[in-house]
Amino acid sequence: MLAMSRDFSSITSILNNIGPFNEVPDEYSPQETINALSSSKILVIGAGGLGCEILKNLALTGFQDIHVIDMDTIDVSNLNRQFLFRAKDVGHSKAQVAAEFIQERIENNHLKITPFFGRIQDKPVEYYKQFDVVICGLDSVEARRWINATLVSLVDNELNNLIPLIDGGTEGFRGQSRVILPKVTSCYECTLDMVTPKTTYPVCTIANTPRLPEHCIEWSSVMEWPRNFGSQKFDADNPEHVEWMYQLSLKRAQEYNIEGVTRLLTLGVVKNIIPAIASTNAIIAASCCNEAFKLVTNCNPILDNYMMYSGDDSIFTYTYAHVNKKNCPVCGNMAKNVTAERWWTLEYFIDELSSKLEIQMKRPSLSSSSAYLYLRNPPNLEEKTRPNLYKKLSTLIDDGNEIVVTDPNLPISLRLVVNFSGPEHEPL
């Protein structure tokens, strides 16, 4: 008995029998399906709460060539849900520890898990071409935009090189999973306006009229930290830094008779912490892997294309086909219309643009069809274009002109048609 290794008896009936909802019953062949499953290369991005679950699910449902990327190391606060990690692993690479754990637990010589401890942006585009499916279990909006744009850019007009992207995300008792077929379904960028923005507070409230404990913490973090420590960056994992922040916030709160500044809240505000539990990660990761399994085996139809889940008020799911945006900067082919006031300077325009939910660029560079308006890089061009920041946009381009916005962190170029309105001068 002991000599036997872990087999796939748990999924044989699924692979061998054609069910009533199979969409390709005439072409379906069990043997080909088994081959497809064992030979397909799948990439898992993120080895955190979702990633641990995803790796486990893939390894138990017949996938044998699994790659995993994560730039993070293991932290104590991961242990309440990232079940492949133990206290002794704190400080080590998530991708490496996760891969080793799965290999050891599954004990199957045919299973190969290849970890990469680093950023997804460190790999060339060519690297991504080798995969049949990519599953994303990340909490970073920027990394998802990057992989989404990269996979969309690989697809040509005949839909060659189409690599499906399955994306999952969770927050507390809620989450969502979706299947993105680049250039076919809507993409991650198409739904950027559905991302919950980070709560921000007006500067004048923080500086002059704090009312909530959060205002006091923001004051310490946004205004007092740079004033006291200059260019030294605040490190939320450094207990001394956190203690300083907490004590200062507490002092300010006491001055204003505001109650409720605690260490827990301080950490929550400065780290923008999102509540997370193993249960929700399990649900969303399983949904993502179920879609990957159906996609590779063709045994049943796949999700078209978005499922929202919430478990805080009974159990609720909402499944629908999210429609792609024609003016999506990644998968669309139309420019997006924006309106600017005539009196806006270029700098004002860029500020407005960066804060827009569906755009969200941290370091945008702008050019028109004939000239650079403002470039962040290289330094000599930055210097040359900097004076434009203080000029009125309406003096730089004409009404109805198209401009292109790029960000060094994203392989995206956003096309905007600018329409002017309003007065020439800032109203008083």
């Binding site: 002991l2 036997m4 290794s5 872990r6 087999d7 796939f8 008896s9 748990s10 999924i11 044989t12 009936s13 054609i18 069910g19 009533p20 486990k56 699910n57 138990l60 449902t61 104590v76 606060s77 242990l79 309440n80 849900r81 079940f83 206290a87 004990e107 507390g172 008792f173 009229t209 704090p210 009312r211 909530l212 204003y256 008779n257 505001i258 827990l264 950490l267 912490i273 509540p275 997370a276 539990i277 193993a278 249960s279 399990a282 649900i283 969303i284 399983a286 949904s287 892997c289 179920n290 399994f293 045994c299 049943n300 139809p301 478990g311 805080d312 008020d313 009974s314 159990i315 499944t319």
Partner: protein, 519 residues
């Protein structure tokens, strides 16, 4: 040694230390050491459930190993309950795991019924013999039972509980109880003390909108037979009236906010129907109150008495939304709300104690925190009466004559396919496969006493075929998904926070779609 606050940081933000303490005092029982069951327990061991017990007499087979991450190859041939318990215990040293390597059939005849009292929630995963006996036993003991099934791409979950009551529902609508339409004397006095006309421009732009609303609404009522705005047109006029109080709506952020949030000004202070209905509940009739009445119902009785003494109003929660204001003005207002909330809490506590006295219970049976929490949430309380049945006539009617079902698909068909699947195992002691379609259909008619003249719709036949073709109970993605869902329900029940399922849930992994019913 890792401190718990750091380890549990991400979940404490959901249920705080009170929820965590409840969780750590909970003991969960799993009947059947299935893959789904292991996944459920993993999601409970990680956040620090107090104890768990697994009941199963089987030894680990290759099929068990195939779909269960919490079995190792070396466990083949060993007791499955012990193996899973030991592999799960590695995840969290704070948790105590116990294995009972006996069949439920045997155990149930052997143990005193007292044995079950140690559990806060019991879970049955996949087919189990003696399910009806277990169900009856736990129902009588008022211990919630979760029954979860996973067959192929389908999953189902029943919550069998006599009654579920939740105080901290974390209602997502985030309504604030501000009493703009009926300020209490201290609030009225404070509003009256602010003379908008005599304020400097700076102060005028910092008057919190609560004050603005109280003033404008009272002005409006004087002109309108003491009635608030009644319809859309009047609400628009009311908004204009608010804006007319501003010196310059473009720069006075407080007035802009006031104009944008008028639903807060027009919210009517009243007792929600869901709450006044509780006042009629037989649990709180004098003759039914006893030493064993749950504290929740004692609170409801006290709440009923409280509103009689308090102008038919619930206790004030006392929390405010943030709003444009200078610090002093906001804090002043906050203190007025808090003081009133505390006063209400005192009056409420007094009513609770009177009831406790009348039935000879100690005042120590309740504590200040739980009273404070009840008063804060008294508008949002959740109560549901459950059912012991797995199906009823109306559910069967819906199955056979559903208008929602399409020609080839019926969501309720998924559930009845699973019930029939278990009935088949009960009868034939083996899993049905696609070759057994006819026997399976016959069993369906027989089990649910359906007239054989009834033609089985294509949609139901399809779900039968799906379940029989893909008849595995160990398709891991479904195990893990259902495991996640069940563990969320256990967390809600154990922490007494958030609203649980009521009471039947079905997940379809082919359509990535779910539906709920109340039996």
């Amino acid at each position: 040694m890792i401190d718990k606050e750091t380890k549990y940081d991400r979940q404490l933000r959901l249920w705080a230390s009170t929820g965590q303490a409840n969780l750590e005092n909970s003991h969960i029982c799993l009947i059947n050491a299935s893959a789904t069951g292991s996944e459920i327990l993993k999601n409970l061991v990680l956040p620090g459930i107090g104890e768990f017990t697994i009941i199963d007499d089987k030894v680990v087979s290759p099929q068990d190993l195939s779909g269960n991450f919490f079995l190792k190859r070396e466990n083949l041939g060993q007791d499955i309950a012990t193996s899973i318990t030991s592999n799960l215990s590695e995840l969290n040293t704070d948790v105590k795991g116990h294995a009972i390597n006996q069949s439920i059939k045997h155990l149930i005849t052997k143990v005193e019924s007292l044995f079950w009292d140690q559990f806060n929630v019991v879970i049955v995963s996949d087919y189990s013999p003696e399910l009806d006996v277990v169900k009856d036993l736990l129902w009588d003991k008022r211990i919630p039972l979760l029954i979860v099934n996973s067959v192929g791409f389908y999953g189902s979950l029943n919550l069998i509980a006599n009654e579920v009551t939740v105080i901290e529902t974390h209602d997502p609508s985030r309504l604030y109880d501000l009493r703009i339409d009926c300020p209490w004397p201290e609030l009225q006095e404070h509003a009256d003390s602010i003379d908008l006309n005599s304020l400097s421009d700076q102060d005028h732009a910092h008057v919190p909108y609560i004050i603005i609303y109280i003033k404008v609404l009272q002005a409006w009522k004087q002109e309108h037979n003491n009635l608030p705005p009644q319809n859309y047109g009047e609400k628009k006029l009311f908004r204009l009236l608010i804006e007319s109080y501003s010196r310059n709506i473009k720069i006075e952020a407080n007035f802009t906010e006031a104009s944008n949030s008028i639903h807060r000004a027009l919210q009517v202070t009243q007792i929600p129907n869901s709450i006044s209905k509780l006042f009629e509940n037989s649990n709180i009739k004098d003759e039914n109150l006893s030493l064993t009445t749950p504290i929740f119902w004692i609170y409801i009785k006290a709440l009923k008495n409280f509103v009689h003494l308090n102008n038919n109003q619930l206790p004030l929660p006392g929390n405010l939304p943030d709003m444009a204001s200078d610090t002093a003005g906001y804090i002043k207002l906050q203190n007025i709300y808090r003081a009133k909330a505390l006063k209400d809490q005192e009056l409420f506590t007094h009513e609770v104690q009177k009831i406790l006295d009348s039935i000879g219970r100690s005042h120590d049976d309740v504590n200040t925190e739980s009273i404070a929490s009840f008063c804060k949430n008294s508008q949002l309380l959740y109560v549901s009466q459950g059912s012991k049945e797995l199906y009823g006539t109306s559910l069967l009617q819906e199955l056979l004559h559903s208008e929602q079902a399409s020609e080839n698909y019926n969501a309720l068909g998924v559930y009845f396919s699973i019930l029939t699947y278990n009935a088949y195992i009960e009868k034939f002691n083996s899993k049905p496969s696609i070759q057994d379609l006819e026997t399976f259909s016959d069993l369906f008619f027989q089990k649910f006493s359906i007239d054989k003249a009834e033609v089985l719709p294509e949609s139901i036949l399809n779900t039968f075929k799906e379940v029989l073709s893909h008849n595995t109970q160990n398709y891991h993605n479904l195990n893990s998904l259902m495991g996640g869902i069940v563990s969320q329900e256990v967390l809600k029940l154990a922490t007494s926070q958030y609203t649980p399922l009521d009471n039947l849930f079905v997940f379809d992994g082919i359509r990535s779609f779910s539906e709920k019913w109340k039996i």
